[in-house]
């Protein structure tokens, strides 16, 4: 075939390389459980300790940076008056309703867009455009159309989640191997059966994951929506605290928001693990 091509060795140019063993710098492999635990504790404990050190040693104005103890105290205060609970429930309710509607609509729309090039061609340009319009930029319009009650806040979350989630769900359908769908046809399956019994279960883990990511976006938007006009809510709590220079209460609000968000995230991860054992990386 290629007998005529002369080959000159370039061995002198080749530098032999081998890998040195490592624990910390392992690339995508698992690290020992103990090391992983230590690192994870450090991740939270180190900033806390730094915060505590700076506020106790630094002689800093508490209205500028309150100490951990101040924040804990403010938390107790807001908790005992039940204000914190009311705020949390109000924010959770808005996120819950807005996100639920957005998810319930975007999942089928996304699956249809991913499965049918026709529906995709019909919707993708519009959705692609809408996605790049930041949801908070719709606030003036939402106030104009829906007033300042709960509706514009829920609608804001809906807008912020629906388009993103549709497009992300659509993308997960791309990863369904074509062979798998064709195998279904060869087994006598109809297009509908391929959609509901093959594509849907195959993209379920992807859907759960994209919902998890977009819930984080919804959680951010509820805070934004409450900065404008609200009687209660965690975002509202923060903006009021800011007005009265209650920096400790700002911290309480931020930490509660973060902890709730993280809890949701972990819940979704758990849901993914138990519902889609087949999709997990580990055997």
């Amino acid at each position: 075939m290629s007998q005529s091509v002369k080959h000159r060795s370039i061995r002198s140019l080749i530098k032999p390389k081998t890998m040195r063993p490592t624990v910390f710098w392992r690339l995508t492999e698992d690290i020992p459980k103990s090391l992983s635990t230590v690192l994870m504790v450090t991740s939270i404990a180190l900033p806390l300790i730094l915060w505590w050190l700076v506020t106790t040693l630094g002689n800093i104005e508490p209205t500028f940076l309150p100490s951990p103890a101040d924040v804990l105290e403010a938390f107790g205060r807001l908790w005992s008056t039940r204000e914190l609970l009311k705020d949390t429930v109000a924010s959770l309710w808005r996120v819950g309703v807005g996100f639920l509607f957005a998810a319930l609509l975007s999942i089928p729309v996304g699956v249809l867009m991913g499965s049918f090039p026709s529906i995709r061609a019909l919707l993708e340009p519009l959705f692609g455009l809408m996605r790049y319009m930041p949801a908070p930029a719709f606030i003036p319009l939402l106030i104009l159309y829906l007033g300042i009650g709960e509706e514009p806040k829920i609608m804001l979350i809906f807008i912020g989640v629906f388009f993103f989630n549709s497009l992300m769900v659509m993308d997960t359908v791309k990863f369904v191997p074509k062979d798998l769908i064709e195998a279904t046809y060869m087994l006598g399956g109809t297009r509908w059966e391929a959609l509901t019994q093959v594509i849907l279960p195959h993209v379920l883990p992807g859907i759960i994951d994209s919902c998890r990511i977009n819930l984080a976006a919804a959680w951010q938007l509820v805070i934004v929506s409450e900065l404008i006009a609200a009687n209660e809510g965690l975002g509202r709590r923060i903006s009021v605290a800011g007005r009265f220079l209650r920096t400790d209460e700002i911290f309480v609000g931020l930490i509660v928001i973060g902890v709730i968000g993280l809890t949701f995230d972990l819940l979704f991860q758990y849901l993914l693990r138990v519902s889609c054992r087949w999709a997990s990386q580990k055997r």
Binding site: M1, P177, D179, L180, E182, A183, T184, Y185, M186, L187, G188, G189, E193, Q197, V198, P201, H202, C276, R277, W278, A279, R283
Partner: protein, 258 residues
């Protein structure tokens, strides 16, 4: 004639213009034949099988099964794909049953049928395992069991034993021959393993590459179908003839590309 392929041509549109992958393919296969199509990589074997399966339509020409023109995929043709096509969220048993489920077979019957074929391919013990817990060869055997469970008229297989070790391969060969002799199943199998083709089939189509054409049709008449026949001189003659044919056309194809 059970399976007929008439003047089939298949072109693909590419950036460099139309790519002729299959050219003037004609085949005629009786019910109950075991046919192997051999050819080099890229000679259009998978493409040909897809036309028979109805997963793709020929540019010109047609495929007929039982006199009816093939226009779409269907469960009258069992298919074993070149790549693994098990449903990753179903265990082995559920995978094997899935076709029967789609075809409306009641639960009890499809359970028994699937169990039977899982036993046949030697995977009864793995009925509850997920595909990711199986080796490549085991996955392929599940795919074969799944195709057979629907009791198709014709079994289409795209290099089904390519990933198997020699011993598993031999036992699969025995199994295929036994199945073929017991039933009236028509088998159309693609392979690039010349010995496999000679050992299994009663007729071989040797395909030339670029574009894929039928270079030769070879009827195989072996004295018997046991493993000892592989030491028989008739077996060697068939094999050498086929090897020589493919080698010659391989060189031509390379020369044509250069």
């Amino acid at each position: 004639m059970f399976l007929e392929i008439h003047n089939l041509n298949k072109h693909f549109a590419t950036k460099e213009g139309a790519l002729v992958v299959l050219k003037d393919i004609n085949m005629a296969i009786e019910r109950g034949e075991f046919i192997c199509a051999v050819g080099a990589s890229g000679s259009g074997k998978s493409t040909l099988l897809r036309q028979i399966a109805g997963l793709d339509t020929p540019t010109t020409g047609e495929v007929r099964i039982d006199g009816k023109r093939v226009a779409s995929p269907g469960s009258d043709r069992g298919m074993v794909f070149q790549h693994y096509t098990l449903y990753p969220w179903m265990n082995v048993q559920e995978n094997t049953e899935f076709g029967l489920k789609l075809q409306g077979v009641p639960k009890k019957e499809r359970r028994e049928q699937a169990s039977y074929y899982l036993n046949v391919v030697g995977l009864t013990k793995f009925a509850r395992a997920l595909p990711k817990e199986l080796s490549g060869g085991m996955k392929q055997r599940v795919a074969i069991a799944r195709a057979l469970a629907s009791e198709p008229d014709i079994l289409l297989m795209d290099e089904p034993f390519g990933a198997l070790d020699i011993h598993t391969k031999e036992s699969m060969h025995e199994f295929m021959l036994d199945l073929w002799q017991r039933t009236n199943l028509t088998i159309f199998m693609i392979t690039h393993d010349v010995e496999e083709a000679v050992f299994l089939s009663n007729r071989i189509y040797a395909l030339g590459a670029r574009p894929g054409t039928v270079r030769k049709e070879m009827v195989i008449n072996l004295p018997n179908r046991s493993h000892t026949v592989k030491r028989h001189s008739i077996f060697h003659d068939y094999r050498d003839e086929l090897m020589e044919l493919l080698r010659r056309h391989g060189q031509e194809a390379v020369a044509a590309v250069a």
